[in-house]
């Protein structure tokens, strides 16, 4: 099993965790989109407004996107990403026929002993052959 400590960008104390959260991507995208489209809206010509059924759509949508972006960023700061896998069930807790016999384990990880997995073990149910 992957331990939380081994996964960069997922610990609450890791500054990268904030950057790699989906809310950081979505929030910054909408802030950038919001700023650009709001500026377009502020400079909208009468023709632009007439095209969109008489409303300054760019201004409205620009502001909506700005607010959306702010909401994502605030949400990210208020509740930073948790340490994940808190409820993860280990392979050992599974009944025999459902175990993947170490195939999900990651021998490359430091500090984590690779579970014994004889190369001949096939992920087969008991008594299938």
């Amino acid at each position: 099993m992957t331990t939380p400590e081994e996964r960069p960008g997922e610990r609450a104390t890791d500054p990268l965790a904030l950057l790699f959260d989906i809310r950081a991507f979505t929030g910054s995208l909408f802030l950038i989109f919001g700023i650009i489209v709001t500026i377009v809206g502020l400079n909208a010509s009468d023709a632009d407004i007439k095209k969109a059924a008489g409303v300054n759509l760019s201004l409205i949508i620009g502001l909506v996107m700005l607010v959306t972006g702010v909401v994502f960023v605030v949400w990210l700061l208020v509740s930073p990403p948790e340490i994940l896998h808190s409820h993860e069930m280990t392979e050992e807790e599974l009944p025999e026929q459902l175990r993947h016999h170490g195939l999900e384990a990651i021998p490359e990880h430091h500090g984590e002993a690779p579970p014994p997995s004889p190369p001949t073990t096939r992920r087969r149910r008991k008594g299938e052959h």
Binding site: T2, L57, L98, R122
Partner: protein, 554 residues
Amino acid sequence: MVHAAATSNLNLHLSPIDVVLIVIYFSFVLGIGFALKRGVKSSLDFFLAGRSLPAWVTGIGFISANIGAVELLGQSASGAQYGAAMVHYFWIGAIPAMVFLGIVMMPFYYGSKVRSVPEYLRLRFDPKAHLINAITFVLGSILIAGVNLYALSIVLEALLGIPLLLAIVLSATFVLSYILLGGLTSAIYNEVMQFFVIMIGMVPLTIIALKESGGIGKLFRTLSAEHGTAFIHPWTGTGIGGSNPVGDWIGIILGLSFCLSFGYWTTNFAEVQRAMAAKDGHSARLTPIIGAYPKSFVPLITVLPGMAALVLLPGIGSGGGNLEYNQAIPALMAKYLPQGVLGVAVTGLLAAFMAGMAANVSSFNAVFTYDIWQDYLRPGRPDRYYLNIGRWATVGGVVLAVLTALIASSFSNISNYLQTLFSFFNVPLFCAFIIGMFWKRASRSAGFWGILTGTLTAVLVYALYKQGVLSFRSDLHETMWGSIAAFAVGAVSMVIASLVEEPKTNEELHGLVYGMEIKDRSEVAKHAWFRSPVVLGLGVLVLNAALYVSLYAV
């Protein structure tokens, strides 16, 4: 539908600002891939996002993976063609199926820790059932990825003037890079971003379309006068012998909802994979239910603008040099959206096409690697080996999708037939799952026989309809009754196969059948009522009933 956009000269005339927005979005797409690259350390990280994502992320990914080419343009086209009855596909089709998946089926998928939908069949039944599902899924995914790619390229060519071949290679390269880098996490993150962008683009378009057509009341009165009340009231004319083009109420409830929608939403690995990526059992159950809430409103931004297009874009769908139904959304965008907003909307459209393809590729590589390569070809290698195979499978899958797209560009009928062919597998598959989960006695070969006979039945009904032996109101109507027949025949063969064979032991079935679910701590723990899958699931069903009623109140 696929070549719709190419046949007329609908050009969006993007301003430089719009192009800048599109470029920014796609740099984000690639940026996500690079940022997530260091998180991919095992095959489980690559194929199932390390089972680490919160429920709201997987929930949005769940529906976003399905808002692709066919869905977005296709549903608005069907809205223009068939009218309000298309909402059945959501409110009595997809949503109840998603609720059922979350409440009833997810504990088996997530609790048993299977890594794909076919893997469940291998454990519950036997390798025959497993292989039939794994192989058809792998072939079907590549085909649909190719069709999505082709549809995307046609839109790029028609709306932005990019040559078809360049468009195909360009979009394929984008999808390939971000999946190769970040695996399923990358695909899901992009689906979440795409979801919000598409909403920002489509909601104002719908509001303006309704405003321009004089409000929803006036729109419905106009359409009802021209096309009859069945066009605006989804249940009108659904009696036996009625005139509703979508069919009769038995077909809608049993065929469309129970067989077709349940079959698609509960057994399609491209969807279920999103829930399997959730961080715990409770989040996995919430995934489709959280997705169901926004999904309930999707017809309002697809079917409704399609209907409004009938009034706003005179002559649409009437043939000749006029616009086709599939062009309803792009044409409305071109007509009403000012610069800036147009850029956002086009970004959403392109992102939706790309997400559709990415969902197919990211589920293809998991099934290919785990269910075919690891189970039958090269078992027992270290995990790193399968991670590499998964990366190569992604490259291979995208290359095959590009070839499929090129073939589709010259023989689009072939891809239509093949898509129909693969759709025949859906319902019998659902039959095997539901009986396998709830009837302990179902034996090891029952799954294979159920899938085989059910599929043959679906093919037979389709063939008889095409030969004129059986008659139905429309292709949709045939699909519904074909599904009912397929389910019934599949179920009967499963029962017969089980009765002549010895049952599986309790030990073999642990974690796989009803009454023997494996629950993790998150599912046993107490949750506030508003986090309960059952309460939220029932809530969305009530919401859908209310939406039906509100259509009649307009």
